[in-house]
Symmetry: C2
Subunit: 303 residues, 2 copies
């Protein structure tokens, strides 16, 4: 398991018995990352046995309450549990202003651990990077400033075929050159890289787009993504509501998925008005067949 | 059912799978009142089918997050549902400052309904009253300003025995005098009130004391209460922790119950360190036998 998505909350702004508020865990190379943190996220993490003390990075798409009200309680719990490591929060600047102001719900300066705020901007931008992973934020089109997130595994180095190392008695420099993708010379003969190496698995990617109206600007950014989460608050028959509130219909989500040539589409953030979500699912599948519905607790491995 | 308590969250500051954060519904004469509103309260209300749109009065004991972080989401949901009636919030002034400040998590001035803030003081005080009910707040002893709440049914008027109205052809004035508890004269003969009336049922009462250290000042206020909820975060073997954090042990709660001569004691707000709460229950029952443990969803009718 290198890349896994777990849905903690699949509802929209009003929670129901079955659908909690927006939050997702992305696990990449055993590191969990949290996207959005609606009210009750820490309760859902308990419910689904997420090891939440391991989370070091939290990404908040926008400052509507259903996407961040759970931060207050989660931070309080980290504090009571004596957290030591720095918590990185990627959000619009207003969240830092809220948490650091005199009347903040939390006394940040009394916490036993540090919070580092990273501000989202209105341009596509790499906001986090480690040896294996890049996270980009990019603007969506909602009623307030909102960002989507793209999690991309880095292109891994080619694996050198073990037998070739001994066969050609490869030097460390030759190995490094092969790892860097270069062709190498052995005894004055040029060997193409792919004769001595196996290609690494293709890097995986996950895009998170919520909340947003239909917004074609994101298509080049999420092009060819393995899995796209795109909100589908409404059905096409309520397209007027979607337009008025800066949300998408299931058809909108499917059209984006199709135009961006993603491999799979995951829709969620459903309005409470639809008792039967298969209606939304079929609407999306008519345009983009490889679509599935989110539900609380759902785990999807990108393999 | 005139007076009923429902526990929505029975845990202390760190929620668990089974115990959500503090919140209780008091239903008196079909009107629901909410005491405290920890994170996830609106989710628990959905879970236990509480008609939460009917709540007009919310009482917040103190401003530690596990007692009020759920307010943000609940208010947002009321707003999305188009609430019309004013929401009364009884809390320390700092909550109003938090919600009305520039960097508030909520845009209070954009809500579609009004919120009326009522400030708790550091003296015993009637904070709400209607035809049937009085609610008093009174100071507890915690690390920050904290109030307990006493819900008391009003003493009801005597019921006039129907047959007596026709037998003596009672005038409206005579009926009013009887209702007011007076004896009346009929044909120059004095009739004691209790010959013409039935006594109403004794008024019921419920006291809520959380969070607090052992604090004897509350005893005269909650004297003879039918049901006392008293926090019991710790066991007596962790009394040092209780003292350090301004909390009570199960023994503390039971001693208060005994000295205040209440009819029944309900303990809750348990630290997560106790895997078996029967240990706390027995500790309390050794001092005050009529003690029960809270659990999420528990309903107790005071009859």
């Amino acid at each position: 398991m290198n890349f896994e998505i777990q849905i903690l909350g699949s509802g929209s702004a009003i929670p129901t018995k079955d659908r909690s508020l927006t939050a997702q865990i992305i696990t990449a190379y055993k590191e969990p990352y949290l996207i959005d943190c609606g009210e009750g996220t820490q309760l859902q993490m308990r419910r689904f046995d997420v090891k939440f003390s391991k989370i070091k990075h939290i990404f908040i798409s926008h400052l509507h309450g259903d996407h961040f009200f759970g931060l207050f309680g989660l931070i309080s719990t980290y504090n009571l549990l004596g957290r030591k490591s720095t918590l990185n929060i990627y959000a619009h600047k207003e969240l830092e202003d809220m948490l650091l102001c005199e009347n903040s719900p939390l006394k940040i300066d009394e916490l036993v651990f540090d919070i580092k705020f990273h501000h989202l901007s209105d341009e596509e931008k790499i906001i986090y990077e480690n040896n294996n992973l890049i996270v980009k934020s990019f603007p969506l089109n909602h009623r307030i400033k909102t960002c989507g997130f793209l999690f991309q595994q880095k292109v891994r180095q080619p694996n050198i075929i073990k037998e070739k190392i001994t066969e050609f008695n490869l030097s460390i420099q030759q190995i490094l050159d092969l790892k860097a993708g270069k062709d190498i010379e052995i005894d004055n003969k040029l060997f193409p890289n792919n004769e001595l190496t196996n290609s690494p698995p293709a890097p995986k990617s996950y895009a998170y787009c919520s909340d947003t109206a239909y917004f074609e600007n994101i298509i080049p950014i999420i092009q060819n993504t393995d899995l796209l989460f795109h909100e589908a608050t409404f059905s096409e028959k309520d397209a007027m509501n979607a337009e008025k509130t800066g949300h998408s219909t299931a058809s909108d989500a499917a059209n984006i998925a199709q135009k961006a040539n993603v491999k799979q589409l995951l829709i969620g953030h459903f309005s409470t008005r639809y008792p039967n979500l298969n209606y939304l699912l079929k609407e999306a599948q008519n345009i983009f067949p490889n679509t599935i519905l989110t539900e609380d607790g759902l785990v999807i491995e990108i393999s």
